[in-house]
């Protein structure tokens, strides 16, 4: 039984925020297909409930370290879509002046410490943010998102041990989408599930259905509270799925279109919440809300297109302070 009293506004907010991520991701893929986006994309579509359910448990000032599949986390912590799209377009008004692109999108001032091109690099960076929060006593919490494929990196095990040893205010969120790039995780991992690894590292390990945003949020709240109370880290495992390939260049030879369609029908976290809200009569304004989101995305694309490419002088700025 849930201990949370859910308000209609909160659930409608979840629905809208998940839709915002999905709309952004679809627009990004479309713009990429038009040749407007130069680099590769790693679509977050299908995993929206993870970013939104977790980030809703955070406060202003908390930290997030993300992955190569980072757009959703960025939007979830409050980054502006227009500056994000401009970053994907390689323009000067992007968050990183176009120098980072999709793989390094970041809003450092908002605590979003960056997507990352190296699988398994976020753990220690997030743990370091947690360490500085602990030293300064500012009560902040740090979250690292990672995929199941990153659990086999040595850095996972180094940081699980270190974070538990030093009782860092850290929440480790595994978005287990079942695929390590092209390979089913069962073929690359001997452990039955990721959350069970927490036991050896003496921290709570909690696995939930990642498509149930209430379950995600509730688990995240408990983990974030525990961290904020200086009781140490928690490992969350969110069972989720991605509806696109590993990256925009992945032909998905490992699964058929029919399989992906069936996966969507069976799992979609947005549809799941939407059905519930519609049944409860809480989404009478669905079309208007979707139109608002579409307008926000369209404005983001227009902003990106209107922004200039960085001047040649930008090549060698930002290397040193």
């Amino acid at each position: 039984m849930s201990r949370i009293t859910w308000t209609p506004e909160q659930l409608r907010g979840f629905w809208r925020d998940m839709h915002r991520i999905r709309a952004f991701e679809r627009a990004a893929i479309y713009q990429s297909s038009l040749g407007k986006i130069y680099g590769a994309l790693h679509s977050y579509e299908g995993q929206e409930s993870c970013a939104i359910g977790v980030s809703a448990a955070l406060q202003r000032g908390d930290y997030v370290a993300s992955t190569h599949r980072g757009h959703g986390h960025c939007i979830a912590v409050g980054a502006r879509m227009d500056r994000m799209m401009a970053e994907l377009f390689g323009r000067i008004d992007g968050y990183c002046k176009g120098k980072g692109g999709s793989l390094h999108i970041a809003d450092v001032g908002a605590g979003m410490l960056g997507a990352n091109g190296i699988v398994g690099a976020g753990y220690a960076i997030a743990a370091g943010a947690a360490l500085s929060a602990k030293v300064s006593g500012n009560g902040r919490v740090s979250v690292v998102f990672f995929g199941d494929g990153a659990v086999t990196r040595g850095t996972f095990h180094e940081v699980m041990n270190m974070a538990s040893l030093w009782k860092l205010p850290l929440v480790l969120v595994c978005e287990n989408n079942g695929l390590a790039q092209y390979v089913p995780t069962a073929e690359t991992m001997v452990f039955e599930n990721v959350s069970s690894l927490a036991q050896g590292y003496k921290m709570p390990g909690v696995a939930v259905d990642g498509n149930d945003i209430r379950a995600v949020h509730e688990a995240a709240l408990a983990a974030v509270d525990r961290a904020r109370q200086a009781q140490g880290p928690t490992l969350l495992e969110l069972h989720t799925q991605r509806y696109h390939g590993h990256s925009s260049g992945d032909p998905q030879v490992y699964r058929s279109k029919a399989e992906v369609e069936a996966l969507r029908l069976a799992t979609d976290p947005i549809v799941r919440l939407e059905n519930e809200l519609v049944a409860a009569g809480l989404l009478a304004d669905r079309e208007a809300l979707l139109a608002q989101i579409d307008a926000e995305v369209a404005q983001a694309v227009a902003f990106a297109e209107a922004s200039a490419y960085p001047a040649d002088e930008e090549l060698s700025t930002d290397v040193y302070a």
């Binding site: 450092v108 690099a121 360490l131």
Partner: protein, 334 residues
């Protein structure tokens, strides 16, 4: 009259003073490393610091990737943060954190990130510890834009440069030549005396030959210069101090003056800092040169443990003297 004094202290004490003074000054500063408390960390640099700063000194498990990555995360959100890597050879197991993360995050985020991170590590020769504890890998890091790579050769520079690193906003890889820890020099007790990174030091003035030497090789170059003086050769010795980004102006000015350049580093020469310096002198100061730029470095072999071979593998004072003599024009018979 200054209220600050010069005292003779060791290189190790100079590094410790820099750390202590900046821990006092910067309340967000943290140190992460192995055996910090109570062992004092690598080569005892942190001895006695635990009692004063224990809450901000983190005794780490043997997890070099996490040491540097956690220090980076702390630097990004607070800092400064110091990661001590026990031997610089062990930096091979935290290269991602240094090269892909710390060095690039400012650029990748379009200047959003500040990175007051210092990765300190003892470098180079000691005694008989062989191929995994004796290397000089500074050129690996000098190759990476975004990193500052420091390698002081005197106690005063060790203190002043480390303090500059700790007050800066860039990731610094700070190499301390192991054999220098016990050496002594005059160091100011002024807590605000900094030695800027990226500025070379004229270690000895001369007019016939420029010897550009780094790290431990500075002392060997100075010893060789004295011997060369006995043969009537006036050698100038330049210590770049920071090997990246490097102070070309000072090096080029010396070569313009003497017309001859020898570069000595402890690393193997292939793709070394010495090679980079020699190439740049040849490329940009060809017209100043009276002869080819020459280099000395370690033999291109893994470091052996046994004393005779170990000694043979490093550039010696005698080699510097011999090469310096060879580089001078032959005197005509009277």
């Amino acid at each position: 009259m200054s209220s600050h004094n010069l005292r003779e202290i060791t290189f190790r004490e100079a590094v410790r003073e820099a750390l202590c003074e900046e821990m006092e000054r910067q309340k967000g500063m943290v140190i992460i490393g192995e055996d910090l408390l109570p062992g004092g960390g690598s080569f005892g640099v942190h001895l006695g610091m635990g009692e004063r700063f224990g809450a901000r000194m983190f005794e780490s498990p043997i997890s070099e990737s996490a040491i540097v990555g956690v220090a980076l995360g702390a630097a990004l959100t607070g800092g400064p943060a110091v990661a001590e890597i026990m031997y610089s050879d062990f930096m091979c197991v935290c290269m991602d954190e240094i090269v892909n993360q710390a060095a690039k995050i400012r650029y990748m985020t379009g200047g959003q990130a500040r990175v007051p991170l210092v990765v300190r590590s003892p470098i180079g020769m000691t005694r008989g510890v062989a191929a995994q504890h004796s290397q000089s890998l500074e050129s690996w890091f000098a190759h990476i834009p975004g990193l500052r790579v420091a390698m002081p050769s005197t106690p005063a520079d060790a203190k002043g440069m480390l303090k500059s690193a700790l007050r800066g906003q860039d990731p610094v890889v700070f190499f301390e030549p192991k054999l220098l820890y016990g050496t002594k020099g005059m160091v100011s007790d002024d807590p605000d005396l900094l030695v800027p990174l990226g500025q070379a030091r004229l270690a000895r003035e001369g007019s016939d030959l420029s010897i550009i030497a780094t790290g431990l090789m500075v002392s060997r170059a100075l010893e060789a210069a004295e011997k060369l003086q006995g043969q009537g050769v006036s050698a100038e010795v330049i210590d770049p101090r920071t090997v990246s980004p490097i102070d070309w102006d000072t090096i080029f000015a010396s070569v313009d003056k003497t017309g001859r350049a020898m570069v000595v580093n402890e690393a193997t020469l292939t793709c070394s800092v010495a090679s980079e310096i020699a190439a740049s002198i040849g490329e940009l100061r060809f017209n100043s040169l009276d002869g080819p730029v020459r280099r000395l470095g370690s033999a291109f072999v893994p470091k052996p443990s046994t004393p005779g071979l170990e000694k043979l593998s490093y550039p010696s004072v005698e080699q510097i003297v011999a090469l310096g003599t060879e580089m001078m024009p032959r005197r005509r018979a009277a």
